[in-house]
């Protein structure tokens, strides 16, 4: 905490937090209506409605990757299965890539789904029509463009954009090095990847101009756009680093903003869906909420290193609830009190 910041004890939300133990690495969390979902490293998915918890033995191994929409969560396991699980507990097996891990999964705003297993990348339209392509290397990051049926995938040597329904090969956005996660800016103008070497790389889609976003002491593996799409919040430093993307050339030549500066590494970030506020999780288990306008911080969860690094954060659609989980299996949620 920076010296002039208010003490978290004085502006704490901790009394509004419900905590429980899940006993396995939390890969992802989200809300499906009133139900909180947690996808875990022992293959279980826990659906929790108030005090009531329902456990689903979803995968034979670990849930490696996770995404969700308003109705269901999607889990990819090291058993090669990709599942869709609703709040009711209904399970649908979408894919089974035998002998492989599901390494990435992504949803489009229109309900298309994509996943990768090794170098194989598959995209499935809502109608069920499926297309496959082989990437230059294993793919760990997938993202659909905000508009149109277009998929971005990160790989060694850059990222590629693919129209699954076109016969043309994917368009390469090259940059030397191994690229891990990928995301589009909500306005569709920029593509950003996280990299093996503690940096982000960005391209302006219109002219493929490069953006280097460096200075991280660790890999930046959690990326979240603010509700207005103007900032990209990122993990990997001892603060949440926010890169400005509002201008024509994005963050080129600009310094990022920092918020939630602490002596602990940020491991997860999740921007509030409606307000300029970011939830920040740290490797010591602390969770803060940070208001971007003035950097004001609210404590959600106190540091508790034996419960592990924050590995998952997720808001509900209204932005009234925040779920969290840690690498050692602690979890819970915050119910935001009515604003005063």
């Amino acid at each position: 905490m920076s010296a002039d910041a208010p003490s978290p004890e004085s502006v704490s939300l901790t009394e509004h937090v419900t905590s429980f133990a899940l006993a396995a690495h939390v890969t992802g969390t989200c809300f499906l209506g009133e139900t909180a979902g947690f996808a875990l490293g022992d293959g279980r998915v826990v659906l929790r409605l108030g005090e009531e918890a329902r456990e689903i033995a979803a995968h034979a191994g670990a849930v490696q990757v996770f995404t969700h929409d308003a109705k269901a969560l999607y889990t990819g396991g090291d058993d090669g299965r990709l599942l869709r699980i609703e709040a009711s507990g209904d399970i649908e097996t979408i894919a089974h890539e035998k002998g492989k891990w599901i390494d990435a999964v992504a949803l489009s705003p229109t309900g298309a789904l994509a996943w990768s297993a090794g170098r194989s990348v598959k995209a499935r339209e809502k109608s069920g029509a499926m297309k496959e392509i082989t990437a230059p290397s294993s793919v760990r990051g997938l993202a659909f463009a905000p508009k149109g049926y277009r998929l971005g995938f990160a790989h060694n040597g850059g990222a590629s954009l693919w129209f699954p329904n076109a016969s043309s090969p994917p368009e390469l956005f090259d940059w030397k090095g191994s690229h891990l996660d990928v995301t589009f800016s909500p306005d569709g103008r920029f593509l950003v990847t996280s990299m093996q070497e503690n940096a982000l790389h960005g391209w302006k889609l219109a002219d493929k101009k490069h953006m280097r976003m460096t200075g991280y002491p660790a890999k930046s593996r959690s990326l979240s756009w603010t509700h207005d799409g103007k900032w990209l919040a990122t993990s990997g430093a001892e603060a949440c680093i926010l890169w400005p993307f509002a201008d024509k050339d994005g963050p080129m030549g600009k310094a990022p903003r920092e918020c939630g500066v602490r002596r602990a590494r940020v491991t997860a970030v999740a921007c509030h869906p409606k307000a300029p506020v970011t939830a920040i999780g740290y490797d010591d288990g602390c969770v803060l909420m940070c208001r971007l306008s003035d950097g004001a911080e609210l404590l959600v969860r106190r540091a508790s290193s034996f419960t592990g690094a924050i590995s998952a954060l997720g808001w509900n659609d209204a932005g009234a609830r925040l779920a969290f989980g840690t690498a050692e299996g602690a979890a819970g949620w915050l119910d935001l009190p009515p604003l005063r």
Partner: protein
């Protein structure tokens, strides 16, 4: 520190017996649970709950250097396995027969997340006693694997004569005198010969004497491998074979050393010098000046790192009560001050390199110039 998952890397040319060793490790009663990362998924039955197929994706690091590479797939898999923390105690990585062990080893030093979760325990190379001499001639990968190893299993010793065995062992020693060498049949070794070696643990780099000197010429025969009696190689000559009695070593040409290796003998114990791959060691009977040594070792590994496979050193720095210990893989160096020099312990400094076309005279001279 200690809760890092130990990782054993199994290398060896095709058919040497890597999978035999792997299955032996997995089936032995030890109460340990392994996560096994194999390269040819599903081809050979591996009796283990947690088996991951890998595809050996070698990624260059951004410095553009050809030796600075990591295994991208391993980074991904180790990260994924950590989600199952508590479900296994150790990781075994089996590489392809043609693999260079360096990118695997470098992954543990270069990737901070992998390095925080797991630690390299040892590189174990399985060599086929019958075919290794041929492979050393025609397969650079085989030579690499021998030179890189911390532990070598010279396997299938039942398929060669005693003389052939001495020959192949001498060739191995010519490439890598520092590895622990075990003569085996069907890879029968006690598990502690291949697991829990802590070969990359700076705290455990106590001595860097050539293994065969340290052991007084003993072969590591596995008479202690109780329960595998039928696999024992009952041999008790301790390597000093002045006696050329009886055995027919006139099989064929493959018992001859390769053309690039020169043999000479000292009282019957053969020594080979491989013209491509050598080890170089140097000693200073006293302290070194860190102000001279650090720039020298950095410069040497930066300029010659492509050819230096492994390096190790234990150094007495001037005015420093603790031992400085380092190890390296190509250009990547890992060093730290370790335990204090003990009362009566001789404060001396020693370095060892294994690599290709090493300029022995220059390395020696460079090191000696670092004397305090």
């Amino acid at each position: 520190m200690s809760d890092k998952i130990p990782v054993t890397v199994l290398t060896g040319y095709l058919g040497a017996g890597k999978t035999t060793l792997l299955n032996r490790i997995l089936t032995e009663e030890h109460g340990r649970k392994f996560a096994v990362i194999v390269n040819e998924f599903g081809e050979i039955g591996i009796d283990n709950e947690l088996v991951v197929g890998a595809d050996e994706e070698i990624f260059e690091m951004n410095n553009g250097c050809i030796c600075c590479t990591v295994r991208g797939d391993l980074i991904r898999i180790v990260e994924g396995l950590m989600k199952r923390k508590g479900k296994f105690d150790a990781i075994i990585v089996e590489t392809t027969g043609l693999a260079d062990p360096a990118p695997v080893a470098q992954t543990f030093f270069v990737d901070a997340d992998v390095g925080a979760a797991a630690k390299l325990d040892a590189v174990v190379t399985v060599a086929d006693a019958r075919w290794l001499l041929d492979r050393l001639k025609d397969a650079p990968e085989a030579k690499n694997q021998i030179a890189f190893a911390d532990v070598i299993l010279l396997n299938k010793t039942d398929l060669v004569t005693k003389e052939q065995l001495e020959e192949v062992e001498a060739r191995i020693r010519g490439l890598n005198p520092y590895a622990k060498l075990h003569r085996t049949q069907k890879c029968a070794v006690p598990l502690d010969a291949v697991l829990g070696r802590e070969a990359f643990d700076l705290e455990r780099i106590l001595e860097i004497e050539p293994a065969f000197l340290e052991d007084g010429g003993h072969h590591h025969e596995h008479d202690e491998a109780h329960g595998h009696g039928h696999d024992h190689a009952h041999e008790h000559d301790h390597g000093h074979h002045h006696d050329q009695e009886g055995h027919d070593h006139a099989h064929d040409a493959k018992d001859a050393a390769s053309a690039s290796a020169k043999a000479h003998s000292h009282g019957g114990l053969k020594h080979y010098h491989d013209e491509e791959m050598q080890s170089v060691s140097a000693r200073i009977e006293g302290e070194v000046d860190p102000e001279k040594f650090m720039p020298w070792i950095n410069e040497l590994t930066q300029t010659r790192g492509v050819d230096i496979l492994r390096s190790k050193g234990i150094l007495a720095f001037k005015d420093e009560p603790k031992r400085f210990v380092f190890q390296g893989v190509h250009m990547i160096l890992d060093g730290d001050l370790q335990r204090p020099w003990q009362e009566g312990e001789k404060r001396e400094s020693k370095i060892v390199f294994i690599g290709r076309h090493l300029d022995e005279a220059a390395i020696r001279a460079g090191f000696l110039a670092c004397a305090a």
